[in-house]
């Protein structure tokens, strides 16, 4: 085991996979000399050269389209889109090309593409603070991954690069400097499509992913200490395909569920998750499923305004307290 930051874990997955497989290439804006806007690709162009670590024009749709073509030509591209806000410019290529080719061409080929992008906020203003995983997760043909820990970031990225299908890999800017133990062996994949129970409990299940998973863990500690409530915490890790059995199993034990997300309440990922769990677990539930989500407003710049909107452990604690 080595202690790595989330940022280093993502980088080490790319580095190891590039050493192992010469078909793997990276492309993105300011990912070479600059090292990536969150410094994730730092040092990689020095090791692998500009043919494998490609500095691109500012052309998100073009980058993803190009990466799709490169994948069809036998490469294993990992395209970095600087933030998920800019990924909107590439939605067409992601949804209409990457997610469709295997299906609409009758299984003749697939698109082994990873789109790495970043969610997050911190006084970035309304256009740069958004959270869109639910949009991607609604598209059949995509796999959508949102790791919370360095170990999962590395293991899931290895799986994503090796996967023959397009994978949307969403990192979180507020997690990059978090640290955690990461297995040192090469090849330690974390499977896509598997959630994990990261804390066992008996009274209520908190299900989250990415930054909200850490918030849920914190809330669990507070609730144990202050209320004597025992929380089970589930890290969803993959949003599509979603590991419902793990969530349903946990609800079967605790009979209460709080879904923890930071995307907008209306149309957000938690909504469809909620409806599915209600269908599957209705008889197990002792209380309506609660949801923590972003209020339906654009995230403003002013710290004073922004802070009151960002979902965190306090909202999770409040949601649990309202239940009992």
């Amino acid at each position: 085991m080595a202690e790595l930051t989330y940022r280093e874990a993502v980088r080490s997955a790319m580095r190891e996979e590039m050493r192992r497989d010469s078909r793997v290439i990276l492309m993105g804006e300011s990912i070479t000399g600059y090292g990536g806007s969150y410094a994730v690709t730092k040092g990689l162009v020095e090791e692998f050269g500009p043919k494998r670590v490609m500095e691109t024009p500012i052309a998100e749709a073009g980058i993803v389209g190009f990466a799709i073509g490169a994948a069809m030509g036998g490469l294993r591209p990992v395209a970095e889109l600087m933030t998920v806000n800019f990924a909107l410019l590439a939605l067409d290529q992601i949804v209409n090309s990457a997610a469709k080719f295997h299906y609409m061409f009758g299984g003749q080929w697939s698109v082994p593409l990873v789109v790495r992008t970043v969610s997050g906020f911190g006084q970035l203003g309304p256009t740069h603070s958004q959270t869109f995983e639910g949009w991607f997760a609604s598209v059949p043909g995509l796999k959508v991954v949102m790791p919370a820990t360095p170990a999962d970031a590395k293991g899931l990225l290895l799986s994503a690069i090796r996967d023959p299908d397009p994978v949307i890999f969403i990192e979180h800017s507020l997690l990059y400097s978090t640290k955690g133990e990461v297995p040192e062996e090469v090849d330690r994949e974390v499977p896509i499509g598997r959630a994990a129970v990261v804390r066992e409990g008996t009274d209520v299940t908190l299900a989250g992913y990415s930054r909200m998973l850490l918030q849920a863990l914190h809330a669990a500690e507070v609730l144990e200490r202050e209320d004597g409530v025992s929380c089970e915490v589930v890290d969803l890790r993959t949003l599509r395909p979603l590991d419902y059995p793990t969530v349903v199993g946990s609800v079967g034990r605790t009979h209460r569920l709080v879904l923890c997300g930071e995307d907008w309440r209306t149309g957000g990922f938690g909504g469809s998750l909620l409806s599915e769990i209600q269908d599957r677990s209705f008889d197990d539930l002792d209380a309506p499923i609660a949801r923590v989500a972003m209020r339906d407003v654009p995230l403003p710049y002013s710290r004073r305004l922004e802070q009151q909107l960002i979902p965190g452990s306090q909202q999770i604690v409040d949601a649990v307290r309202r239940m009992s």
Binding site: P57, F66, I68, G74, S97, V111, P164, P191
Partner: protein
Amino acid sequence: MATTPRKSRPRAATRSAGALPHGLTAQQGRDMYRKMVQIRHFEDHAAEAYAQAKVGGFLHLYIGEEAVAVGAIAAAREDDHILGHYRDHGYALARGCDVKACMAELFGRETGICHGRGGSMHLADASRHFWGGHAIVGSHIPIGAGMAYAMQYREEPLVVLDFFGDGATGNGIFHEGLNMAALWNLPVVFICENNLYGMGATLAEESPVSDMMIKAEGYTMPAVQCDGMDVLSVYGAVQQAAEHCRSGKGPFFVEAMTYRFRGHSMADPELYRDKEEVRRWRELDPIPRFGDFLVQHRITSPQELAEVNEEVEAEMLEAVRFADSSPWPEPDTVDRWIYAKPIDPEASEETPSMAGDPAGAAT
């Protein structure tokens, strides 16, 4: 707006009998003629099947533009990669895709070239390096550039032909794709079929320039214009372009001046153009024109041409019969091919992969 057809002279008009330009053999000439006739008859039958409601959705016919796909694809190597837009029957047939499977795709049958999942706009045959009809205007332009990058990266001497319309040049994705192809010196031939309209928009309404090749200039990309109603003119232009790409000199832009004789799709009342214009362009019909040329140069005879027409017609009737009598896809196969590696969290073990490594199909 260029409503007056440019009269072009077949380049070999002054050559001696039996000789074709661009190093083409007589057999290649006859094959190109047959391919154009195949496309024409395929489209006629597709239109008829559409009228009978056997083909649904969108149907975009290539009638009038046959010389572009046939000339261009004949000028490429058999394993060069091809991508095109949704008016794609011509690319498929010019590349030699199975006619019956193409027709069955339009009929939505399991025997279709994409098992009825794609339809008219999404024919593809990876085994022939035809990577599809693409229906989001311009979307396949950077995809073609990316494939070209893979060829360059893997040091394979293959070129990508990427076909699109004049209308696509108004979309940002066109510019993103050309920019990257030029920036990285990639072996891709961009083939713009300038048929004067993007659906109902005239050139004057959709573009500040009527010659699309001008748009390649800003990307320092060499460009030529050719007569898209003359299969030899297209062949010559794409031959030059492909050679340029293959020798490592970067992308090339070919603009083929052409015209669709039919509406944009089957639903088009054609209010935006007058019948006289259509009539004038029909006089340049690339099929009789090339047929006459071959006869003049004693490469074939009128009887042989008539035979080709009969053989092709029989082939198309058979394709329609095949399509019409083919089985529908089974309802329970609707989930197939969403993923190459389906992952089922409900199962205790991962479902095994249903398709091999895509690189296997690619190269």
